[in-house]
Each structure stands twice: as C-alpha cells, then as structure tokens.
C-alpha cells in the first residue's frame, strides 16, 4: 500500500515528505503559491506506477489532500475574490457594492476631468522626440607598456604548425592496371579466384581491382560467380564457359 503522507517530494520550494509539507502550509510557514502542485501529482503517479498495482485507498486519500491544497492555493492567488458578494449579508453586500460603485464613479469623473483638460490644452503644441544622446564619456585607459603589447602580438603572429593530412591521402591505382593484369591472368588460366589474386593488396587496391572486375564483366569478357555471400569470388573467361556449355550440350 502506498502511504500518501510519507510520499517523498523533491520540489523547488520544498523537499521532504508530503505530510510535512501539509503541516508547513497549514502553519503558514511555507508560501503555497511557491509550491508546484503538479510536481506533487507527478511524484505520486510515479510512486504509483512503481508499485504496478492500483491502490484505490491511496488514490482517494491523495485526491482529497491535493484538491484541498489546490483550493487553498487558488484562494491565495485571488485574495480580493474572497469577499464574494454572494456570501455576504444583504446589508454588507449593499455596502460593498456601493463602495465599488463609488470607486468607479470617482474614476469616471476623473476621466471626464482629463477629457476637459485635453480639450482645454488642445492648442498646446510642443516637440516630442527621443531623448538626445548624452556625450560619450571617453574611457581612461591605464598606461600600457608597448613592449608588452608587442610581445603579446608576437605570440599571436607565430604561424600555427602545419597540420599533417598524410594519413588521409588515398592512393588510387588506375583501373586499367587491373584490367591488364586480369586479362594477362586469364590468358594463362581459364579461371581464377579473386581473393587469392588480390589478397596481398591494400584495401583501396582491392576496391579498384573489384571495379576492374565489373568493367570486364560489363564487356562480357568474364563471368563472375559466388556461391554465397562472403564466399570466394570465382572468375572465369566467358569463352571457356561457352565451350563448356557447348560440350555439355553436345554430350
């Protein structure tokens, strides 16, 4: 069971158990308007969620306490509204109404006086403009040693060390180099294993070699086969393959 009064709160205005907050509020030792009631609700809901079961008793108690707190806070925010006319005795209500009417009537007459004044003063013309600028006060600087300034500037004037970009350079061998190489291999052998052929090359060279493969494939010079992803790529001369199929068919 969630015990509402022991709910730990961590608000801007207050940190501690809910019960203590209520006590402090009732004793006027804490300003209710500074208390974030939504924060209390959140804390309760989080606590409830952590329990993973709906505790109706706790919810009911919490609702009663929080709504009382909200009402107190609302009343505090509108002090004037506390004296609602409806709650007053007819005599008192009449007095309150008369007071309000008198206040408004005075202001209405003041407004009428202002209007008369405006009309009487209507023929007064004067210049209105932004305030002119006051002269700027020259800041007085302390005496400076020019040598110090020069030293500081010298420090700034040193060119920064050159940043090396060597590690970023990628050297791409020409694709044609691999075209020639693969054609030469294929003149000697009818098929070869791509990984074996380029295994000792760098990654970039391997990539260019692969481009060369695609180029040869496009030209119809080779056939490429791979049994499964990441399996060895096998290259064969297309004329060999054609021969094979021809042989098969004729057999």
């Amino acid at each position: 069971m969630v015990i509402v009064r022991e709910l730990e709160l961590d608000l801007d205005a207050f940190e501690g158990p809910f019960d203590l907050l209520l006590t402090l509020v009732l004793k006027d030792e804490i300003e209710l308007r500074d208390v974030d009631v939504a924060g209390i609700v959140l804390a309760f809901i989080e606590r409830l969620a952590a329990r993973d079961e709906l505790d109706l008793d706790a919810c009911g108690e919490f609702l009663v306490l929080v709504s009382a707190l909200l009402e107190l806070k609302a009343r505090g925010l509108f002090p004037e509204e506390a004296a609602e006319l409806a709650e007053l005795e007819p005599e008192a209500a009449a007095e309150e109404l008369a007071r309000r009417l008198a206040e408004y009537r005075r202001m209405k007459e003041a407004a009428a006086w202002l209007r008369e004044r405006l009309e009487a003063e209507g023929d007064r013309y004067f210049r209105i403009g932004p305030a002119p600028f006051a002269p700027r006060v020259e800041p007085q600087l302390a005496l400076q040693d020019p040598e110090k300034l020069a030293a500081a500037l010298r420090l700034l004037a040193v060119p920064p060390p050159e940043v090396s970009l060597a590690h970023m350079a990628l050297r791409f061998p020409p694709v044609t180099q691999f075209l020639e190489r693969f054609r030469a291999v294929l003149r000697r052998r009818s098929r070869f294993d791509f990984d074996q052929e380029v295994g000792e090359l760098s990654r970039v060279e391997q990539a260019v070699a692969f481009l060369a493969l695609l180029e040869l494939r496009r030209g119809g010079e080779i056939a490429i086969e791979q049994a499964a992803p990441f399996a060895p790529i096998r290259i064969s001369r297309t004329d060999v393959e054609r021969e094979d199929s021809w042989t098969l068919r004729s057999a």
């Binding site: 005599e91 009449a94 209405k108 003041a110 009487a120 209105i128």
Partner: protein, 200 residues
C-alpha cells in the same frame, strides 16, 4: 567646487539665461532645474533665476515660443496663437482619439499607479487589456515593475509625456479624489433601501 567663488566670478545672469535658453531648445523633453544646472555647470538657484528671465522673454502673447513649467521640468512649446498653423503641420498621436475606456484607465493609473491590469479591471468591471496596451503604445503609461503579490502582474504608471500632454506640472495637479464622485451617497442610500427590503 566652491559655489560662492563662481558667484563672484561674475558670470552675469543674462549670460546664464542664454545658456538655459539654448539647452531648452536642444532638449526634446522637459528639463528639470537640476538637469539644467548640471549642463550649464551652475547653481540650481541661479538657474531658477535665469529661468525667470527666460520665462519673461517667452511669455504667452509675447513670442511665438512659450516657456512652460510642465511634467516636473521646464520646456518650450508653441504659443497658443500659433496652434492652428501647428495643427496643419503636425499630428498629435499621443492623444488623438482616446476612447472613454482609455481615459478611464488612464485616470485609474494616474491616481492609483503603479497598478496592474487586474486592478484596473476590478474598478472598471471589464478587461483593461486593450486600453492598457493602447495607452502604453501612445507612451502615456509605461511599465513600472511587477506586483509583489502572487502572479507578479506588470504594474503601470503614467509617463512625463502624460503630464505634458495634459499640461500638468505634476500629478499633484489632478483634482483630489475626495472631490470627485458626487452623488455617491445617494447611490449608497438607494442600495441600502433595496437591501432592507430583501432582509424583510
């Protein structure tokens, strides 16, 4: 600095009057005696005396320019004789077309200021938002901090421009609140009569 020394230094008053005159021409808002004294580098008492000389020269009916004491300071304005000509040339945006709601709001802010929009609304019984906004835009009222109470609504007070537009030396020239609101007692009596009937 030694004030008596400067008096003996015989800067004649009419010389100071010329300086004061020049400062007033340059200024775009009323200048207080203190401001004039600081700019003229002279004593406030002598500036007052010089203002007397300048005021004599720029009296209504004597010149097209009139020196007036307004909004807590001193300022030049056009003579009333020239008003028609002025009206053909310049607009008066601050006071043109002030509504009844705006004037009532202005009165409330002038008497009770600094006060908030809820204060104004409570007295007038309707929302004061647009009236306050319009007055602030005209420069007749301005923000003056926030209410201490909960919510911290913005407070407003009237500006020196308000006093100038209405030709007031200061807010104390407004009629006393006690002198306003005639007939209030009659209303009160009638309300009480109704209340007695309800209790009976």
């Amino acid at each position: 600095m030694d004030a008596p020394l400067r008096l003996i230094a015989a800067n004649p008053l009419d010389q100071l009057a010329k300086t004061v005159e020049a400062l007033l021409v340059v200024a775009s808002a009323p200048l207080t005696v203190a401001e004039l004294a600081e700019a003229a580098a002279d004593d406030p008492e002598r500036v007052e005396a010089a203002l007397g000389l300048v005021g004599e020269r720029y009296r209504e009916g004597r010149s097209g320019i009139v020196l007036e004491r307004v909004a807590g300071g001193w300022a030049f304005r056009a003579s009333r004789e020239a008003a028609e000509a002025c009206a053909r040339m310049v607009e008066k945006p601050a006071q043109r077309g002030l509504s009844q709601a705006a004037l009532e709001t202005l009165a409330i802010v002038a008497y009770l200021g600094p006060c908030t929009r809820p204060d104004v609304a409570r007295i007038r019984g309707v929302s004061a938002d647009s009236a306050v906004a319009s007055l602030a835009e005209r420069g007749l009222i301005t923000e003056a901090g926030r209410d201490d109470a909960a919510g911290g609504a913005i407070r407003y007070r009237t500006t020196p421009l308000f006093e100038r537009v209405f030709g007031l030396e200061s807010l104390s020239q407004l009629p006393r609140l006690d002198d306003l609101g005639g007939g209030v007692d009659e209303i009160r009596d009638r309300l009480h009569a109704v209340a007695e009937k309800r209790t009976a």
